[in-house]
Symmetry: C2
Subunit: 422 residues, 2 copies
Amino acid sequence: MMEKDLQYVLRRGVTEIIVEQELVRLLESGKRLRLKMGFDPSRPDIHLGHVVGMRKLRQFQELGHQVVLIVGDWTAQIGDPSGTSQTRQMLSAEEVRANAETYLQQFFKVVDREKTEVLWQSEWFGKFTLADVIRLTSKFTVAQLLAREDFNQRYSAGRPIAITELLYPLLQAYDSVMMEADVEFGGIDQKFNCLMGRELQQMMGQTPQHVFLMPLLVGTDGQQKMSKSLDNYIAIEDTPEDMYGKVMSIPDSLLMDYFELLTDVPDEELEEFRRGLSAQSVNPMILKKRLAEGIVTQFHGADAATEAESHFERVVQRRELPDRIPELSSADLMGRIQLASPHLANSKAVPTTDVLLAAGMVKSRSEAKRLISQSAVEIDGQRITSETASMEITSTLDSILIKVGKQRWLRITPVTARPPGT
Amino acid sequence: MMEKDLQYVLRRGVTEIIVEQELVRLLESGKRLRLKMGFDPSRPDIHLGHVVGMRKLRQFQELGHQVVLIVGDWTAQIGDPSGTSQTRQMLSAEEVRANAETYLQQFFKVVDREKTEVLWQSEWFGKFTLADVIRLTSKFTVAQLLAREDFNQRYSAGRPIAITELLYPLLQAYDSVMMEADVEFGGIDQKFNCLMGRELQQMMGQTPQHVFLMPLLVGTDGQQKMSKSLDNYIAIEDTPEDMYGKVMSIPDSLLMDYFELLTDVPDEELEEFRRGLSAQSVNPMILKKRLAEGIVTQFHGADAATEAESHFERVVQRRELPDRIPELSSADLMGRIQLASPHLANSKAVPTTDVLLAAGMVKSRSEAKRLISQSAVEIDGQRITSETASMEITSTLDSILIKVGKQRWLRITPVTARPPGT
């Protein structure tokens, strides 16, 4: 039984283990291992991309091991990955603490709090001196760091790399030394940094950590790594309906990856799914619903998953109205339009793009335009086709039903329909 | 008069001034300028290569300006220029203080102590935190630093550059900010580092320093930059006789450079020398004696220079015995041989190479062999021609006169010739 579990943990959703044979021996030795994972407290929101690694940690916890979560309050200040030489603003201690709280509360939806130790980088980097920096940086060469794929590409392309960014992998490696990591967990894009940890531990007389690398979850766009900045993410704080709907929106090509990385559906069953899909004997929509239900259940429970499913079937599949549609009074809407677009203060005809923005249904005018051009905006059941279309908003109008995409609904209510106190 | 002095100071022995026009304006403004020069307290001995810049500082002091000498007690720990990734051992505070004392005592033989302020890097780097390091390193890119010629060459050739070495120019630049330098002085090989100082000062809201770059003095070998490690140097602590002899040993091709960089002989006169040399109407030996006398006078006074000259003429030119020859008793010599070459403890015939080494006349057996092969070793007037020649050393032998090269003499005295108490 134990044997089978271990094999599952070592195989399911894993890209590479360094050094696998040694790690297996260590796991079999019965030692309680210290499992390292770091997080960036400037980005406190967890999405399914992070969940892949967290589930793996959870599996190791169930085998009896200890998670050590590193709050990267120092590395968070470095390393803007876009490659400009701007350093991020230092977060205040207050902000870092608040972000870490938000993160942890989400983290423990997957990882067992009882088998988790939380360490802050500031415990060691808060008192790091120039002499410490000199000792650390003397152990690594420029060529070694420029070998990292993204550095190498940027350097070759003539895009700037701040010296500070070279320090990032070194600081992360030093974390492994300070916490005496046995295994570090990360996405496959963390391979280089994790290997630096191995090297530094060895130089400093510790047994080098093993490295457990997992695939990067592709986002809902089906193209790129899931990330908040690309807006292709599913947050674990999303409402059940949003989460369900977003999972349903992934391209079929991602279906099996999501099953493998985000559910416990057994390998044998996944094999059946694969066969069914390739023989076209199973409808991908059926499997996707099972996936969506499984994921929503993990974060919101079975009841919420059932409700989210029926919402999806009614609103998206049968194109009926959802059970609950948020409402906004026309007076409130006009107030918001005046704030957001003062030049429209006295117009009766307001561009639809400004209405969508003021109503909070889009994040920017350009998103509104894009959605209109994709025929994704409907007003009272009429598709809007011109980006310059406008609407009449007065306090005495009838209620207006706005729909953006498949999921976003809003009813603008006439003020007179709801006198105060009703 | 002032005008002429300034022109002399700006022209004589100067390779490049950045930005010259602005510096001239600043000098004419009457402001008392802060002139920066740094030194490495792990190398406390000053040679004529350093004197070039020190003389320039002195000239500026005579125009009324203030020298600020930076004791590089932090940068000294970094940056082994040979390119290995070894960081130098951190000197103890005690060693640094002793070295700095040695250095200063030599420095003030040229530079006016009254117009000199001494600052230690530890005043600012002693309390430098990781946050300070992050702020500093975020301002510069890897490409910017790899543009430095020596880094570039090493990087291209695949020779390692420690990350620490990239920090070196940044720390030196930060010195300029902390001391609010108006002008930094250095050899032309310091151009890159000095320009980093300009850049950092500007980023931090200061007026960027000007940079005053001087030629590198070629050593007595006529080939490479004068340096202690190449053993082609003339130390300002050398005895008058050694200093005189070493200056006389430089190739004729260096003569005019030495005059220009190390003496006050006026430009017009130097022009005459040049003409005379190129028309072969003047003997370079005559000029070299004038140079040697001028340099020895600067560090030891006119009397010592005269004595050094007559020593040189007698011993080197007329091949007579010097006035004073150091002596070593045969008993002491035998003791030293036993320490240095224990396998020879009971031999009477000792290889000449071991004798020279034990007597302190050479630094290694290989130097002894090289000198023998160059016919530069004489014993009692007889040239030694075989590297495997040996000598008989007993406590009752006659005195032996050993000569190595043109300048090194030693007399081995029989113990019996000098009973204790005489």
